[in-house]
Symmetry: C2
Subunit: 242 residues, 2 copies
């Protein structure tokens, strides 16, 4: 790792040192050569190792920081540390990425909707088995909000998302919750924008109630059926708008 800069274009004529360095460090983290909370060499040491200037190293480190792979700390015994990727940070990235994918690639409403409900229905069996009173309470609380006719459209939507998030969380599977963060949160604006003028809150609240009741009783078939009904209703709303 000392003289890798002697030969000018060793691999594939890369005019992008900071990206190269970032990739090298990223690989070291992914393969486990650098473990969580381990401190990277200081910027000066890294610039010496890679034979580049400090600004270049810094650009590489910022790339990694943007992915939450490292965190930095100033001062003596400060530096860059391998970051334990938290679910919260991963959620945010997931939501950002999913939002952009939807808005930038002209994904059709029905496609997004199909994906969203397919994923959510995947949670039903686990949710029926693992849900706790805490989850049921969260969902019931949101449902009460939604019954209030004075609620603004925006607040109704937020509560809608919270309801479905609680449902997903009730599967008690962090991986699933993470994976669905994008599907649920990113599609809120999309679905909201398309359906909020025509939807019947009453019907949605009824379906939410069916879901909650089914979950309470551990009836995963009924739960799935209610989700499917919500799916159909939403898709129909989308179609009628075109």
């Amino acid at each position: 790792m000392s003289d890798n800069s002697k030969n000018p274009k060793q691999t594939t004529k890369r005019p992008n040192l900071s990206a190269e360095i970032a990739d090298a460090i990223r690989d070291a983290i992914i393969t486990g050569q650098l473990i969580v909370d381990e401190r990277l060499p200081s910027e000066s040491e890294l610039s010496a190792q890679f034979n580049v200037s400090r600004p270049t190293v810094r650009e590489a480190l910022k790339r990694l920081a943007a992915q939450s792979l490292i965190r930095t700390q100033r001062g003596a015994s400060g530096g860059a540390f391998v970051n334990r990727l938290s679910y919260e940070q991963a959620y945010d990235q997931q939501v950002t990425t999913a939002t952009l994918l939807l808005s930038m690639n002209g994904v059709g409403f029905e496609t997004a909707c199909d994906a969203r409900f397919a994923l959510e229905r995947a949670c039903a069996p686990l949710a029926a088995r693992n849900r706790t009173q805490h989850h049921l309470d969260r969902m019931r609380s949101e449902l009460e909000k939604q019954r209030n006719a004075a609620l603004s459209d925006e607040a109704f939507c937020t509560s809608d998302v919270a309801f479905h998030r609680a449902f997903v969380d009730s599967a008690c599977n962090q991986v699933l919750s993470y994976q669905l963060a994008g599907a649920i949160e990113a599609m809120q604006p999309l679905m909201n924008m398309i359906t909020y003028t025509r939807r019947s809150r009453e019907k949605i609240v009824d379906l939410h109630d069916r879901i909650l009741t089914a979950l309470d009783q551990g009836d995963m078939a009924e739960c799935d059926a209610a989700l499917e009904a919500l799916h159909s209703y939403t898709v129909d709303l989308g179609k009628s708008g075109r």
Copy 2:
């Protein structure tokens, strides 16, 4: 946007200009103030606008580049452009993030497995409806590979992943394919490491065959049953190893 540097600590004592600038630009992209393929101001102009130096601006831009939000181009009429986030780029990030989440947070084998198969089973209805001959051929081709007893463990696993990827893709829903990239690819090493010594290839191939046959016939119930069987078998393998 001109004198935002006059008051030293306007919001929350942030000693991190490059992060602040990156967030500002990111927001502009997400909210649609900057649209795809639009060119950002040059680094010099940005440093003037934000009243910071060019290296600081560059660090901000590298953060965005790391998330594939922008791309840069050298030369006259070059610069930073808002990037159309492609599914391919999103796949990579998804897989990287999911891999790290699993390895860094001590996710149990069963939890990961439950999530993985729940998500994959979510594809079954859509797959049964939308699969094309192309997808079936891809899966059949992988299945043939897997029947070859001379195949190395590693190659068998790669083919296994390719088989499931083809299955997911057969739902013909890009959003779903994107969401499942992490679930399928990131868990390969995990599942492989745990089960490869004890699993029966024959049994797995049989189950793959059931899945493929069911998909061919559009029998989504049978397809789901086969996936559930594969799920149970995998979980059992994990349990017996503990």
